[in-house]
Amino acid sequence: MSPALFRLFRAGETHVHELSYLFWECTTRCNLHCRHCGSDCSVQSREKDMPLADFLQALDTVPAAQRPAGFTVILTGGEPLLRPDLAACGQAIRERGCGWGIVSNGFHYNAGMQQRLLAAGLGSMTISLDGLEESHNWMRGNPKSFTRALAAIRLAAAVPRFAFDVVTCVHKRNLTELPALHALLSDAGVRQWRLFTIIPIGRAREDADMHLSDAEFVSLMDFIRQKRRERLPMKTTFSCEGYLGRYEQQVRDTPYFCRAGINIASVLIDGRICACPNIDRDVFSQGSIYTDNFYEVWEQRFEAFRKRDWAKKGICAGCGKFRDCLGNGMHNWHGACEGPLNCHYRKTLTT
């Protein structure tokens, strides 16, 4: 699709801004202590898990007629498997006609858990695997985490028609492991593998090992492009985290489009309403489920997400790619928002 045609499509999507993907940050407790965590989650979170009834009250403000087929609620955290009422949460969401899924580290996912969650309507899941055994365990801060995650991946990959994928945060230590990781996941029966890089927020901010150089980033793009050209049973994809210049449509199925606030909303752990949970909530939250009607907020606010001209500053101010990029993913704007934390396009200019 030509860039001009896609811009037209994107403008239409923005105008309609149909809500079809809702995050629920249902807990900020986590059993692991990952080096790259953007949420600074911990075993003893300061925040209590949000009661299911509070979330349902917000979800119920979305008229059934406004929920498209495939409307999906994603329970995230923290680690959602730590919620003792996870199946009940999913069941209640499912009873409202919505699909639901989780993002998990897989540590506590086993056959019994899978059976229980599928029975409650679990239709989607992402599990993280951040390298081969040594580098994954280093990243996750637990010597058993690789074995447990891989076992979870094998279980989930065997469920037919399940919307399941594995994500890998690519950093300096695991970049050279990607071919071996590809083989491992293929053998495990995985059909979708999604790679992304780490933005300098949370614990990852000061950790130099977490961030690829420009040349390393280009080698990552080349790796993904090559795997896609091979048309293997397992599809390898780069995440939608940023605009990629010459790699657009070569490492993903569709052109770059940050749908935060256009199709994606979130209910955060303290009730704030935002888009993806890794977006700066102090800057971009639009209201609270405890003081506002969730769907009215979705319909009437979110202007910063739908009109992105404000992002023409810093390195974006004079950039000729702005009309395709719109300042990169919203999660790249933090604090005073003087410029994006990452410019993927500039990285791709390295040869």
């Binding site: 999906t72 506590h108 019994g112 858990m113 239709g123 899941m125 037919p160 028609r161 569709t254 993806c276």
Partner: protein, 63 residues
């Protein structure tokens, strides 16, 4: 605009444009997942061997 969008959705070549997932989220649920005969049988309450309960102990904790 919504009608135009529905027509677009109906064209198989363009429907891929509407399928997405947030950067750090899980995939959208396949709309037919809950209706497909192959997967329907997965979605019946059953007694899981270990109950599938959330972990009670500290295993997995890094701290």
């Amino acid at each position: 605009m919504k009608l135009f969008r529905k027509i677009l959705r109906g064209l198989s070549l363009t429907s891929v444009l509407f399928i997405f997932q947030a950067c750090y989220g899980a995939p959208q649920v396949n709309p037919d997942f809950y209706e497909n005969e192959e997967t329907k049988t997965l979605q019946c309450p059953d007694d899981a061997e270990d109950g599938g309960q959330a972990p009670a102990g500290p295993e997995g904790s890094a701290e």
